[in-house]
């Protein structure tokens, strides 16, 4: 029989409401799985990594079991009293540790926030909890979300990929993706600035949904690039992504960039299929542009054949269900996504990270200092890891008065060009009239731990196929589409026009239904198999 912790959020809620299981039973099963696979949580003083560490997932920084028990009891009490406990009642979730949750440590995986206990709760977390969901912990990430592998966390051991424990889970929402893949939670709340939900979802074989910018409030979320950051769900099924988004989307008086639009009805049309929908394929998403570290020049390469094949097979399935597949949609500015991101995100990061100074919260140096400036320097030197330092310095350089026109203003104009590619593809009166563009999520499967880390340019190129959606603000979803030759998951991505979340979920669900019986859907992650 299926263990409770492997059930989807939808099935958990259904079983709970029929009184077949209790919220406490769900929680116990989940905590048992965590004890079985996760190993020790990430800490600032980890010491030597052990052989045992190498066999565990390490998704968590902080486990909030007591808080979870209180919430689960509340759900059970409501059920017993005949009160509706909410659409996510009893569903265990993890939150990337950039979301403030009242009374819990919130670290952004950085030493500079050590000792910080959030005095308030982020809107997406508050809404999931109001819907009855039960937060079981805060999970690891790249420090301040600055990376694509979770390796740059100041809290070690960093997260490992549940499908192959020698590989990274992706990032920056690596703890989120790994915790969902390993059955340590049904849902996770992540953030996506260049692909930080979709890329780890693809690497870990789960669903990752970056909604439209402004669809979900950013209140209470620690910022990286404020014009790019989007909170969104990671789940094991498309239906769960719809449920999770439903519970957290919508206007918020605490965030002026949260769109003043009510949440859509993401479940109503979920299983209506794709008949008559126009779905595009673009040659610009079947090749990647790579900087050559030797020459400083650029090389274009096709994505590996099995990635293009997987996308084309998905297109074939959707076509057989009545979708119209439109080939050769030009997206010529895709290749500029990373260079433009290198500028825009760094300027925004530098601005956002100046506030960490050891005065009002978090870490302050304990070394003797002469004056305030020396306190700032010593605090920031010891508090920030290399990746935030790199982003701050770079952001200051490219936004300096003498370079701003050349770099920052130019990057913002390139951003307009990237946006125009999507507007032309999705224009209902245009040549292509797409409901969605279908692409690979990543150009590779999860890479080995240590293989890319340190090379900040190569690491950024892991986001090449996801970052255009952040520039354009449009929604994008990555869903599992099988496994590559190397045994690791492959993800496919659907991108759609602003606020087309319902359509993207509907297409994704159609693909999920069409592949429900395939053998790869029965595979069990290595972390679960090897840690009985």
């Amino acid at each position: 029989m299926t263990e409770i912790c492997n059930l989807s959020a939808r099935d958990l809620v259904a079983a709970l409401k029929k009184r077949q299981i209790s919220a406490l039973e769900i929680l116990e099963s989940t905590l048992q799985r965590i004890a079985q696979v996760d190993g020790r949580p990430g800490t600032l003083n980890p010491g030597e990594q052990t052989t045992e560490d190498a066999q565990r997932v390490h998704a968590f920084i902080t486990l909030t079991s007591q808080r979870a028990r209180t919430k689960a009891e509340e759900v059970d009490r409501k059920l017993a009293a005949g009160i509706d406990p909410g659409p996510l009642a009893g569903v265990p979730f993890t939150a990337k540790d950039v979301f403030c949750v009242s009374g819990t440590p919130t670290t952004a995986a950085s030493r500079i926030l050590s000792g910080f206990s959030a005095p308030y709760t982020a809107t997406p977390v508050a809404r999931w909890e109001a819907a009855g969901a039960v937060m079981i912990g805060k999970v690891n990430l790249d420090e301040f979300t600055h990376g694509s592998s979770t390796e740059s966390s100041a809290f070690q051991p960093s997260t490992r990929n549940p499908w192959d424990l020698t590989r990274v889970p992706g990032g920056s929402s690596g703890g989120s993706a790994a915790s969902v893949a390993a059955g340590e939670s049904a849902l996770s709340l992540g953030t996506d600035t260049a692909g930080s939900i979709r890329q780890p979802a693809a690497f870990c074989g789960v669903v990752g949904f970056k909604p439209t910018y402004g669809r979900v409030s950013r209140y209470g979320m620690i910022a990286f690039g404020s014009s790019l950051d989007c909170p969104g769900p990671l789940t094991r099924t498309v239906t769960d992504a719809a449920l999770a988004l439903q519970a957290m989307a919508g206007p918020d008086s605490h965030d002026a960039t949260a769109a003043n639009l009510p949440a859509g009805e993401y479940l109503d049309r979920l299983e209506n299929g794709v008949k008559g929908m126009r779905i595009g394929l673009s040659p610009d998403y079947f090749r990647i542009t790579f900087p050559d570290p030797e020459t400083g020049g650029y090389e274009q390469r096709p994505v590996p054949a099995e990635f293009e094949d997987t996308v084309r097979q998905a297109a074939g399935l959707l076509k057989s269900m009545g979708a119209e597949i439109i080939e050769d949609v030009p997206m010529p500015n895709t290749r500029y996504g990373i260079p433009a991101f290198f500028v825009i995100s760094r300027v925004e990061a530098a601005s956002n990270l100046h506030r960490y100074d050891g005065v009002k919260y978090g870490y302050r140096t304990d070394q003797p200092v002469q004056d305030l400036r020396e306190m700032y320097r010593k605090t920031r030197a010891a508090g920030f890891g290399l990746q935030p330092k790199l982003r701050i310095l770079m952001g200051m350089y490219v936004s300096a008065a003498q370079y701003s026109a050349q770099y920052y203003q130019q990057a913002l104009r390139v951003r307009t060009m990237i946006r125009r590619d999507f507007e032309q593809a999705f224009d209902p009166a245009g040549k292509y009239r797409l409901q969605a563009l279908l692409t690979p999520t990543t150009p590779t499967t999860a890479f080995p731990i240590g293989a890319v880390y340190g090379n900040s340019v190569l690491m950024q190129y892991a986001d090449q196929l996801t970052v255009p959606a952040n520039h354009a603000g449009i929604p994008g979803i990555s869903i599992p589409a099988g496994f590559a030759q190397d045994g690791l998951p492959i993800g496919i991505q659907f991108l759609g026009p602003d606020f087309s979340e319902a359509a993207l979920l509907q297409i994704s669900r159609a693909y999920e239904i069409a592949t429900e019986q395939e053998g790869w859907r029965q595979k069990i992650p290595q972390a679960v198999q090897q840690n009985p």
């Binding site: 009242s102 000792g115 910080f116 005095p119 910018y213 014009s227 206007p251 008086s253 965030d255 002026a256 960039t257 949260a258 769109a259 003043n260 900087p291 570290p293 020459t295 500029y336 260079p339 433009a340 500028v343 005065v359 009002k360 919260y361 978090g362 870490y363 004056d371 305030l372 400036r373 306190m375 700032y376 320097r377 920031r380 030197a381 920030f384 330092k389 790199l390 310095l393 200051m396 350089y397 050349q406 770099y407 203003q409 130019q410 990057a411 913002l412 104009r413 390139v414 951003r415 307009t416 060009m417 946006r419 900040s456 340019v457 950024q460 520039h471 354009a472 603000g473 449009i474 602003d498």
Partner: protein, 106 residues
């Protein structure tokens, strides 16, 4: 590959950012910055027509979707003590910091 950010420019940025770096960190950061700058230079070479406006956000915010301004009303936070509890050094209602550098104007 050119080294556009030399050590003097780098050190100036480090001081503006209020960091102190050891030599190993400095070498890594300066190298990575120059590598990133080589990528960014691809942008500079893109020919843009004169009428391409900058986009500070991808999604346009027409009035019907924009958040309405909040009423200009003071709403006290429920637990100010939870905010003050975060301060590394707090005494008698004051946030304590080391001496603030100053110079006396003549």
């Amino acid at each position: 590959m050119t080294e556009q950010i030399d050590r003097d420019a780098f050190n100036h940025l480090v001081s503006l950012a209020a960091f102190e770096l050891d030599e190993e960190q400095a070498r890594y950061l300066q190298r990575e910055m120059n590598n990133q700058l080589n990528v960014i230079d691809e942008l500079v070479a893109i020919p843009l027509e004169g009428n391409v406006p900058p986009a500070s956000h991808g999604v346009p915010y027409p009035p019907e979707v924009s958040a309405t301004p909040r009423e200009d009303k003071w709403i006290p936070f429920d637990h100010p003590e939870d905010i003050l509890a975060q301060v590394p050094q707090f005494e008698d209602g004051y946030i304590i910091v080391p001496d603030i550098p100053h110079q006396t104007l003549e």
